[in-house]
Structures are given as structure tokens and as C-alpha cells.
């Protein structure tokens, strides 16, 4: 019995894409509104956790698999540090925000003072947000997934021992 009731499952399925798009919104707007890679990542990971709790860890493990998530995590971390290293190569030093003000893709300087916010500002910040976002989603979800799976496994073993 690793699924919850039908109502919960249906609602989870309905809510999941909304939470996810909201989390991605938070990631993408990290440099404009409260939020950022980590917060958005935590939200998306929670969305995945919602699926996990509604459908059970076996189902989720079959769907996603912990290996693939690990790879995603590595990729996110790699992108993050690669962006920092690009700062060394294109800018002057490690972690240089080499895109800020370069009027390339994300390189505009916003109007100083209160404004409504443009997406294409902030230099490497949005990119870093995405990198951290990928990493955090994968990381936090792997933690929950693996722990849930292990607890499931142990429960099963305990049941076998007793019965």
C-alpha cells in the first residue's frame, strides 16, 4: 500500500505542473523578484516530493530513477562552476559577472531605481540561477527519493522478518 487515496492522487497530478511551472518561474525571476535558483529548486523538488508521496517511491523510482537525477545534479553543478570559470576566461577573475552590461543576451543594465524589471538583465545571474536550480531540484529530490525508498525497503524487510 504505497499509494494514497484516489482524491489525493488526482489532485497531486493536477497540481504538479502548476507547482513546477511556479518553481521554474521563481528560478527564472531570481534576479527580479524574491527567489532564485535555490528557492525555485526547492519548490520543484517539493512538487516531485508531492508525486512521491501520492504515488509511492517505487512508482517514482521507476519513472525517474536515481542515477539519472545524479547525472542531472552533476550537470547543474558543472554548469555553475563552468560559468564561474568562464568569468576567469572572459572577464578577469573567477566568478566575474562577465556578462553584466555587455548588451549580450542577458547583458543589459536595468534602469536604476524602481522599475518593473526586465528579464534580460543581470549578466550571468539568471544562468547561474538555472544551473543552481537544476542542481537543487535533482539534489533535494534524490535525497527524499533515496531515503523514502530505503525506508520502504526496510519496512518490507521488517515485515518479512515478522511474518
Amino acid at each position: 500500500m504505497s499509494e494514497m487515496s484516489k482524491i489525493v492522487r488526482t489532485i497531486a497530478a493536477i497540481v504538479f505542473p502548476f507547482i513546477m511551472i511556479y518553481g521554474l518561474y521563481v528560478i527564472a525571476h531570481g534576479h527580479l523578484t524574491p527567489g532564485g535558483g535555490f528557492q525555485g529548486g526547492a519548490i520543484v523538488a517539493s512538487a516531485c516530493a508531492l508525486l512521491l508521496v501520492a504515488y509511492g517511491s517505487m512508482w517514482t523510482m521507476r519513472r525517474i530513477g536515481e542515477k539519472r537525477l545524479s547525472v542531472f545534479e552533476s550537470i547543474g553543478a558543472f554548469f555553475f562552476i563552468a560559468l564561474a570559470l568562464l568569468g576567469l576566461f572572459f572577464g578577469a577573475v573567477f566568478f566575474n559577472n562577465f556578462l553584466a552590461g555587455s548588451s549580450f543576451l542577458f547583458g543589459d543594465i536595468p534602469m536604476v531605481g524602481s522599475n518593473t524589471g526586465d528579464m534580460n538583465t543581470g549578466g550571468v545571474l539568471p544562468l547561474m540561477n538555472f544551473a543552481v536550480g537544476i542542481k537543487v531540484v535533482a539534489g533535494l529530490f534524490v535525497i527524499i527519493l533515496v531515503m523514502a525508498y530505503a525506508s520502504n525497503h526496510m519496512e518490507k524487510k521488517r515485515g518479512e522478518k515478522q511474518g
Partner: protein, 119 residues
Amino acid sequence: MIFNIPFIAVAALIIIGLYAVIFRKNLIKTVIGITIIESGVNLFLITLGYREGGVPPIYTNLPEDVSIPRGMVLPVPQALTLTSIVIGVAVLALMLSLVIHIYRVYGTLDVRRIRRLRE
């Protein structure tokens, strides 16, 4: 004016957490204690950066009448707290996985019985 109540709350949280770690016998209680200490420290950092009547240091859709920079709360403690929260989750996850393993091997969560390593 309100007599540093948040700071005292921080001290109280740290004390409660330490109490849990030192006096409670259950490992999960120990973990909860550490979480509480961590919450206290996070609250402390944020409280340090608060300026009375300030707004968040975000320029998007900012009300026009905010004086810069004195009308904004300090951004650095918030950044530090973000880091600290992530660290908290990481530590918590690791500790609880260890707790699960300990229970698997020892069959108990009592601190006084989990001491094969001593002397």
C-alpha cells in the same frame, strides 16, 4: 523599543536546541535540537539585518517613496541565511540517514544504548 525580543528569542532557541541535544535521550530529538539551533542562528542573522521600516532590497516594483539605501534592509545577512538554510537541510538529511542506519543495526534510538564505541 520592543526590547530586543527577537534576539532573546534567538538565545532561547539556541538554548532549547542545546537542551535537546544534551538532555534528551532520543537520536531524532537530538537531530531536532540541532535543527532548532540552526533555526535560531538563521533568525539571528536575519534579525541583524533588519532595519526598522525597511523594505526588501529588491528594486522590482518598489514603492517610490523608499529612501536608498537607508530604507532597505541589509541584503548580506539574507544571502548568508540562504546558504545556512541549505546547509541545514544537507546536515539534516545526512543525520537522519545515519539515524535510520543506526536503528537498523542497533534496533533502538536511545543514546544510552548506542555506545559500542567508548573508552
